[in-house]
């Protein structure tokens, strides 16, 4: 299939392009930008007048809930949601049931995902067997099966000795280690930020130092082992400052922030809104503001959706008993655009946080529109505002703190390997 996307505003952060240019696709690849190649006969012409044409988005944390957790969502529903959000590459955390700790499981997931012909799926391999934090997984084998990076489940770091060994082993093969920094002994049954809101509501807390102590340990172990580390979904200003210092010292550490922490604070819990039961917890508004600026100065490399669809019943519980997480893969683009508008940033810089930058962190060739590269493309209307409703969201999870809000950025087309996989 040959596709001609015309009149669109082409934004390609990696190549520094922001201009109205046509783009030509053949055999799944970008074959020309600007003028049509000789004898190019498009079988489909997309008129992208007043639309933005950008690389397909790269989301560093999307839970597909397979294998094992299909009551929350299915691969089919969440893959469809991803492309509806313009996302063409997704990294999936290993906390499935069973966890992604065996090559067979990873191959199965890759195979199932591939057969759907939608976004590219990059499983994050389990760092330890069963994610129990005791024995290392066969990382090299898992890598052959398709795991590009390795991590633990949320907030469950191995003890420091095992973590150091895992980091050393990963660095042997050049794999990077992805961790959400949280000291479990300081977390307990905590469900909210240790601040005024939790004090008012009488909720058990997760103090900021649960994050900063873990970050401190990980920084020291990074120095010790030389492994590349990616810190997932940081939540605090203090943690951010520590990462900034470590990066200034030249340590190979990157980090990301979720769309939720970019826009919300613990105040949004209101009267026990279980949609705001997230991990790490939503922190204070000054933490949120620091994270918003941390993206600007490059300390935070990427924005992710932290997509975690939850079945409705699991949220219809008292706050502390409700399931953690929010759906988000369809909100990644809108909420990134919202951040960019509020910070008065050019679209080129804004879109880099969900295209080229996360691709580099994940170590994949994606998130750009270079000649000859795979035609993974998102075409959206930046001026279209839409309301978040249960029916507007394709994900099986309808749980999000943004329910009912008007947000910018309507995806019109999503292309993966030159195929139109979503059209609105």
């Amino acid at each position: 299939m040959k596709i001609h996307i015309k009149n669109g505003r082409l934004i390609d952060p990696k190549n520094g392009i922001d201009a109205v240019q046509d783009i030509f696709i053949a055999k799944g690849k970008i074959v020309a930008i600007g003028a049509a190649p000789d004898e190019f006969q498009a079988s489909r012409v997309i008129d992208a007048q007043s639309l933005v044409v950008c690389p397909g988005l790269v989301d560093l944390s999307v839970r597909l809930r397979e294998p094992g957790l299909e009551y929350m969502a299915t691969l089919e529903s969440e893959m469809a949601a991803a492309v509806a959000g313009g996302v063409t590459s997704i990294a999936c955390p290993p906390d499935t049931d069973p966890p992604l700790d065996e090559p067979g499981l990873v191959e199965m997931l890759k195979h199932r995902a591939k057969s759907l012909h939608q976004a590219h799926v990059y499983p994050i391999g389990a760092l330890t067997q069963g994610l129990k934090g005791e024995r290392l997984t066969e990382m090299a084998e898992l890598n052959d099966a398709g795991c590009v990076v390795f991590g633990q489940s949320d907030g469950l770091l191995p003890n420091l000795r095992v973590l150091m060994q895992a980091m050393l082993y990963a660095s042997t093969f050049g794999f990077s280690v992805w961790l959400r920094p949280q000291e479990i002994t300081l977390t307990g049954d905590g469900v909210a930020h240790d601040g005024e809101v939790a004090t008012r509501l009488g909720l058990l807390t997760v103090p900021v130092c649960a994050e900063t102590i873990a970050i401190g340990n990980i920084i020291l172990l990074t120095k010790e082992t030389g492994v590349r580390v990616h810190l997932c979904r940081i939540s605090s200003a203090e943690g951010l400052a520590m990462i900034r210092t470590a990066r200034q010292q030249g340590l190979p550490i990157t980090c990301d922030v979720s769309i939720n922490h970019l826009h919300l604070s613990d105040m949004d819990i209101g009267f026990f809104d279980s949609n705001c039961h997230l991990m790490p917890p939503l922190r204070s508004s000054s933490d949120r503001d620091a994270l918003r600026h941390g993206l600007l100065d490059g300390t935070i490399g990427a924005i992710c959706s932290d997509h975690a669809p939850v079945d409705e019943d699991a949220k219809l519980l008292p706050f502390g008993q409700s399931e953690v997480g929010a759906t988000g893969v369809e909100l990644l683009l809108p909420l990134t655009l919202k951040w960019g508008t509020e910070m008065r940033l050019p679209l080129l810089n804004v879109l880099s946080k969900i295209t080229s930058d996360p691709a580099r962190i994940l170590g994949i060739d994606a998130g750009h529109l270079s000649l000859g590269s795979a035609a993974d493309i998102c075409i959206f209307d930046p001026d279209h505002y839409w309301k978040v409703t249960s029916s507007a969201i394709l994900s099986q999870g309808k749980n999000t703190p943004f329910m009912g809000m008007e947000i910018p950025g309507g995806v019109k087309y999503t292309l993966v390997n030159g195929h139109i996989v979503y059209e609105h």
């Binding site: 240790d194 005024e196 004090t199 909720l203 949004d268 008292p318 502390g320």
Partner: protein
């Protein structure tokens, strides 16, 4: 994304009592004033009035508490309501029925009011949000969040003995961190215009930024009790006495237990309150608990009248 106060309808009329936080002083005072009339009822030959005849009140106790349940039961019966006690801690929940399943089943039995006790903060809010519009919910204690009827009966007691809230110094002493009673007391006291509310506790029993609730923090009883008119003691749960919060009940009693000596540091006409049940010799000395400054037993009596007031005001507030 913050909704209006879920206890009030769009006209500001009380539909549920979930917390004392955010309620206007007029609503709190109306409850206290109404309770005054009920005190008389409880002193008569026939301690029963026909006000809620035919109404069905369900006591939903997801966390066992015979004492609190009984006070609600007495209050409801004195109003001639039909009372149904459900000890859900041992029935539906263990069979995997969810909280809202239970509530929906009971709503179908034409309930008029739910009195809810639950170990999780926010449980009463959740139920209030999901019940049919004509059912009223009273929070009888949710996690560490709120226990509004206890706080209201405390306010009633204070007003009986001290008349005016606006020239008082009140100290709340003990495990503030885990206490739903303390939180509800603080909001009620500040709403009713008490100019100085203090909390006295070791740092392990205080929540973060508690001063944002409008209280002054003390760690030393000698300093904290100076010039105090009202002492509100809190119960120390057994599981907090030895462990990461406190080393031993003995050490706690030595530094934070209310003894006659420590009480003498407060104003001479200060009153001593406790929500019960008391741990004598841990948070309070028997000599103080039974002494002439203690108003702990009147609190229990007033508790019935205040709960009658809350029930009859809610039942009368149509949707």
């Amino acid at each position: 994304m913050i909704n209006r106060n879920p206890q009030l309808d769009e006209n500001g009329v009380l539909q549920h009592l979930l917390t004392t936080e955010g309620l206007p002083a007029s609503v709190l005072l109306h409850i206290l004033d109404t309770a005054e009339s009920f005190v008389g009822v409880t002193e008569r030959d026939v301690k029963k009035i026909p006000l809620l005849r035919g109404k069905s009140i369900f006591n939903l106790f997801f966390e066992p508490s015979t004492r609190t349940r009984t006070t609600f039961e007495i209050a409801a019966k004195r109003l001639s309501a039909d009372v149904f006690n459900l000890n859900i801690a041992v029935s539906a929940q263990s069979k995997g029925e969810t909280l809202l399943d239970t509530v929906n089943n009971l709503s179908a039995m034409n309930a008029d009011m739910f009195v809810v006790r639950h170990a999780q903060s926010g449980a009463a809010h959740l139920i209030a949000k999901h019940v049919q519009a004509d059912i009223h919910v009273i929070n009888a204690g949710d996690g560490s969040h709120a226990h509004p009827t206890q706080a209201l009966l405390d306010m009633f007691t204070i007003r009986r003995y001290k008349r005016d809230f606006r020239n008082l110094r009140v100290a709340i002493i003990g495990d503030i961190l885990h206490s739903r009673v303390a939180r509800s007391q603080i909001h009620a006291l500040t709403t009713l215009g008490v100019p100085e509310v203090r909390v006295i506790a070791p740092k392990t029993l205080l929540p973060k930024m508690v001063e944002r609730l409008g209280v002054h923090v003390y760690h030393d009883m000698a300093k904290g009790l100076k010039d105090i008119d009202v002492l509100m003691m809190l119960r120390l749960q057994n599981e907090r006495m030895k462990g990461a919060n406190l080393p031993s009940p003995e050490e706690y009693f030595k530094y934070y237990g209310l003894t006659p000596e420590k009480l003498s540091l407060a104003r001479r006409d200060a009153i001593v309150m406790h929500p019960g049940p008391m741990n004598r010799g841990v948070e309070i000395d028997s000599e103080v608990a039974d002494g002439k400054q203690s108003v702990i037993l009147p609190q229990v009596t007033f508790g019935i009248a205040v709960r009658m007031a809350v029930m009859s005001i809610l039942a009368g507030n149509q949707v």
